[in-house]
Amino acid sequence: MTIKEQQDRIIEDFEVFGDWMEKYEYIIQLGKDLPLIDPKYKTDDNLIRGCQSKVWLHAELIGGKLVFTADSDAVITKGLVGLVIQVLSGQTPKDIAEAEIYFIDAIGLTSHLSPTRSNGLLSMLKQIKLYAIGYQAKSLQN
């Protein structure tokens, strides 16, 4: 699936939720189900500091695709991180660098991207883009 298809799928998934509780139950479950990051990657170098919660993000280039694994100490943040990973992990650096991320807004979670939430999600998105741009530049050099 392309990044756009992944985002549209998530938006469709979220349409079934009747109220905020169902929505957050789903996000919390996602957070609990997110595959654990290899402990060796849970380093200070991979730590994205938010004021409220921490996010660890690890990126690897496998067969021309960028694969992300991540973790957070807060389960809602972890669920949101899980959604971002569903959308962007396994895509090419070029596609990630050029992607427009609209699903968070569309599923009514924009407030989680507000800098005052400081939950690391906004910084994580920026970091993913930076990795993508970095790998893209590297591949152009080679």
Partner: protein, 414 residues
């Protein structure tokens, strides 16, 4: 819990007080707003909002300069606000410096000590429960002078270790800068004892009263405190204004903080002489409207009576602590005997930020995180807390909604 003593705010009166705060009459995420983030900032009564609107609508003008009528009106209102704040804390008006807030006031003093008082090997005493704004200004001052910041430890309940404090006082200590009330745990520190112990050794004391001002009566002369800092916005007033109280002798002694208009007596390119305090410390056009708003805020609080607010909040805090205690797995961070305002807690192994997000969904505003007291959270080995902080317009319904909200959040996070 209801009482009819004149000293106490009775429940009917509490409803009237709440009615004076327009912002509280709204729904957030579909539920009536429960505002329990008063430690971060309090809401403003209609009298404060009106005073500021009136200023901009009818007599906006610069102060201490013009001969024209509006300027005189603005100057009179600005200085009247200084008198109101002075009366509120039991000071003389010339001992009250308008600042941007508590942080600015502490920086003013720390900067003066850095420049003229601190020397290599000197010490500044703070405590383990300080807000970053009463840590970092002293670190900056001490780093430059090779002086040391010494930290009074706390016990597991979040109370100062007073024996340790006594043992830390010596001739190298140039100032004790300590918070009156902990913004994270709500601990009320024994400030009278701290001041008298420090004074026995000739050491001045600065009190950070940011979290005390809306809750505890302040009488600076009775306390004999040397400096006291507070913020207008945590005292039903606007942001961008606060005060530094300083004993006259200290304000004379400290050097100017910033240079500019209003703080000068005479300027030539060779030498400038400075205005008398407090204007010596008020460079540039001040926050006139905000000062007037702060004047209206202390007038509002004085009319109600801070001692009555204190008695009411004391009962409400007890109610809240008892109600929260019933939530399985909840533990309080800070259980001091004497407390005010803030109640911090964690539930089971849930992350405070998750609880905060789910409370917000239910229209309940609390603060989560480290509350600008990272060293304190490190001490307890926690990422932060959920903090509910009360003000006089809160009631038992707010607390019931909080308890219900936390229970729902914990179930969802289960």
């Amino acid at each position: 819990m209801e009482t009819t003593t004149a000293e106490h705010i009775i429940w009917q009166e509490a409803d009237l007080i709440r009615n004076e705060f327009p912002i509280l009459k709204q729904t957030v995420n579909g539920r009536p707003l429960v505002y329990l983030d008063n430690g971060a900032t309090t809401q403003k009564p209609v009298s404060v909002i009106r005073s500021m609107q009136e200023y901009y609508t009818t007599y906006n003008s610069n102060v201490h300069r013009g001969v024209h009528t509006l300027s005189q009106q603005a100057t009179a209102a600005y200085e009247a606000a200084r008198h109101q704040v002075a009366a509120f804390i039991g000071a003389h008006h010339h001992e009250v410096v308008f600042t941007k807030g508590t942080t600015d006031a502490i920086n003013l003093v720390a900067n003066g000590f850095r420049k003229d008082i601190l020397k290599e090997g000197d010490e500044v005493i703070i405590s383990a429960m300080e807000h970053h704004s009463n840590i970092v200004p002293w670190q900056l001052a001490c780093e430059e002078k090779n002086a040391k910041v010494k930290v009074v430890p706390i016990n597991e309940k979040g109370e100062l270790d007073m024996d340790k404090f006594r043992s830390m006082l010596n001739s190298r200590v140039k100032i004790v800068a300590i918070t009156w009330v902990s913004n994270t745990m709500g601990t009320v520190n024994p400030v009278k004892e701290i001041i008298s112990l420090a004074h026995e050794q000739g050491i001045p004391v600065l009190l950070d009263a940011a979290q005390a001002a809306a809750h505890i009566p302040i009488r600076v002369h009775e306390l004999d405190v040397d400096f006291l800092a507070l913020s207008g916005h945590k005292l039903f007033g606007p942001t961008g204004i606060g005060i530094l109280y300083g004993k006259e002798s200290w304000l004379d002694k400290l050097p100017p903080y910033q240079g500019g208009g209003d703080m000068i007596k005479h300027v030539t390119f060779e030498k400038t002489t400075y205005n008398e305090p407090p204007l010596k410390f008020e460079a540039g056009t001040p926050a006139i409207c905000e000062a007037i708003g702060l004047g209206a805020a202390v007038a509002w609080a004085s009319k109600l009576g801070i001692h009555r607010i204190n008695a009411y909040e004391h009962q409400l805090t007890e109610y809240a602590i008892n109600a929260l205690r019933g939530i399985p797995g909840l533990r309080f961070i800070g259980e001091a005997k004497h407390r005010s305002g803030a109640i911090s807690f964690l539930v089971g192994d849930t992350h405070p930020s998750d609880v905060g997000v789910l409370l917000d969904q239910q229209g309940i505003a609390v603060r989560t995180g480290h509350h600008c007291t990272q060293p304190l959270c490190d001490l307890f080995g926690i990422p932060g807390t959920v903090r509910a902080s009360l003000a006089v317009y809160n009631n038992t319904e707010d607390i019931d909604r909080l308890v219900e909200g936390v229970q729902k959040a914990v179930t969802l996070l289960g």
